[in-house]
């Protein structure tokens, strides 16, 4: 029997069942420990970046090539037909007719969902505006499973910009399928949006809004840091919160031994570099895991069994 993601579009985390999330995570783990260079043999993947994102693109293209596949595409959609007024629907129809799957990033929300309606081959969302970035969430889940041995019953603190951070929104949605509990640590102006909190309430997920990072560190298994962007505040406001959402090594003195610090990267100054050498730092391994999570997805979407 084909795996449940075979020939499916990968658009948005809420589309995934718990079993499908676990399938991707477990497959990523297998591919990390036993690399396969044959799973995309003779497959051609479209890598369509209508908006540049070097990091995500390199991670995807590495994943394709490691699995023995080939890539065509573009890194900066600003130079392509979209500028000449071609609809995304038309672009994707054509690219889909050349390739076995399309990985795409686009500056507009909903672009991947729309593309999936016009593509004859699976579409994998590499980010659509401020909406979804499912492969980031899948690599986060894989990293959490890898460091904790489970996704279940964990306590996870999200720190920083919880309002605009789409990675944080998707990850809470995904983890809420695994009976995790959350701490949301942010300035009030960047608090978790109401609609996410309402969703969590509906699912009966436990969460606590807190303003102090120090208080939660001894309580949690995962500390998920994000960047608080200066541009979101005026100067006076920023002064007030500056430094409050920065993690330094000494703050981890009372942390559980299994605590791991994650960050979607790039970091600026929200994780001091002295954290890097603590056993809690895991963000660079997390970035590396992006390749395995993307390999897992591509392999599952393009092979009946993996």
């Amino acid at each position: 029997m084909a795996n449940p993601l075979y020939r499916k579009h990968i658009i948005s985390i809420p589309d995934f069942s718990r079993e499908e999330l676990e399938l991707v995570v477990d497959t990523a783990g297998r591919l990390k420990h036993s690399p396969r260079n044959d799973l995309l043999k003779d497959k051609l993947i479209g890598s369509c970046f209508f908006e540049p994102s070097t990091r995500t693109r390199l991670s995807f293209e590495t994943a394709v090539q490691r699995l023995g596949g080939n890539v065509i595409g573009f890194a900066d959609g600003g130079n392509t037909s979209a500028k000449k007024g071609e609809t995304l629907a038309d672009s994707i129809k054509i690219i889909g007719s050349y390739t076995d799957a399309v990985v795409m990033r686009h500056p507009k929300e909903g672009a991947a969902r729309l593309a999936s309606q016009f593509s004859a081959v699976p579409v994998i969302n590499g980010g659509d505006g401020s909406n979804q970035h499912p492969t980031q969430t899948l690599l986060d889940l894989f990293t959490i499973k890898e460091t904790q041995g489970t996704l279940e019953n964990l306590t996870v603190a999200f720190v920083g910009d919880l309002k605009y951070g789409r990675t944080v929104h998707s990850l809470t949605q995904a983890l809420s399928q695994f009976n995790c509990r959350f701490y949301f640590v942010s300035p009030e102006a960047l608090a978790m949006p109401d609609y996410i909190c309402e969703e969590l309430d509906e699912k009966g997920v436990q969460y606590t809004l807190v303003s102090s990072l120090d208080d939660v560190i001894p309580q949690v298994d995962i500390l998920y840091m994000t960047r608080v962007q200066r541009e979101r505040f005026d100067e006076a406001e920023f002064k007030k919160i500056q430094g409050k959402y920065v993690l330094r090594a000494d703050m981890l003195a009372n942390a559980r031994t299994n605590l791991r610090v994650l960050h979607p990267l790039p970091r600026v100054d929200e994780i001091a570099t002295d954290v890097d050498s603590t056993p809690h730092a895991y963000y660079f391994e997390q970035a590396k895991n992006g390749v395995y999570a993307r390999q897992a997805l591509l392999a599952l979407v393009l092979n009946e069994t993996v």
């Binding site: 909903g110 729309l114 309606q117 505006g129």
Partner: protein, 152 residues
């Protein structure tokens, strides 16, 4: 009794009655009833025994479908929609909030891909205790129904 004098009886078509006063023009616009080319009669601020004031719309030769009637439920859950054939009511629609709405409203998110592409807008409708929420299928943003309905 008053509207039989102000708005003449309909031979074929649909009567949308008991709209809250002030909603008539909005519904006319949203459902593009004026663009049908059919004769449309609108009564605004008519007196109503139950509602105080109400609006009413009569469209000739067009029978509103179940689906269209349900879309009306977003704005006027207590409206009545009667389909008329040969001066007789042949169908009284029971308004029920639809689960999805396609093509009536534009997505309020200006950065949503649904604008400028060959697709109809599409929302999932979810009633909550105090409001009705609409979630765009494309950008996945959730809006209060009043925000969606104000667009255009």
């Amino acid at each position: 009794m008053q509207y039989t004098r102000t708005v003449e009886a309909l031979k074929e078509g649909t009567v949308i009655d008991h709209l809250p006063a002030g909603q008539g023009m909005k519904i006319l616009r949203l459902f593009k009833l004026a663009e049908t080319g059919e004769r449309v009669t609108v009564g605004l601020n008519l007196s109503s025994r139950h509602m105080g004031a109400k609006d009413i719309i009569k469209v000739e030769n067009i029978a509103l479908t179940e689906e269209q009637a349900n879309e009306l439920a977003l704005f006027a859950p207590r409206a009545t929609v009667n389909v008329i054939e040969n001066f007789e009511v042949v169908k009284k629609h029971q308004l029920e909030l639809p689960e999805t709405i396609e093509g009536i409203f534009d997505c309020p998110n200006s950065n949503c891909i649904s604008h400028g592409e060959p697709v109809k807008s599409f929302f999932y409708v979810k009633p909550t205790a105090t409001d009705t929420k609409m979630k765009c299928k494309y950008c996945e943003k959730v809006f209060s129904k009043d925000i969606v309905a104000e667009v255009k």
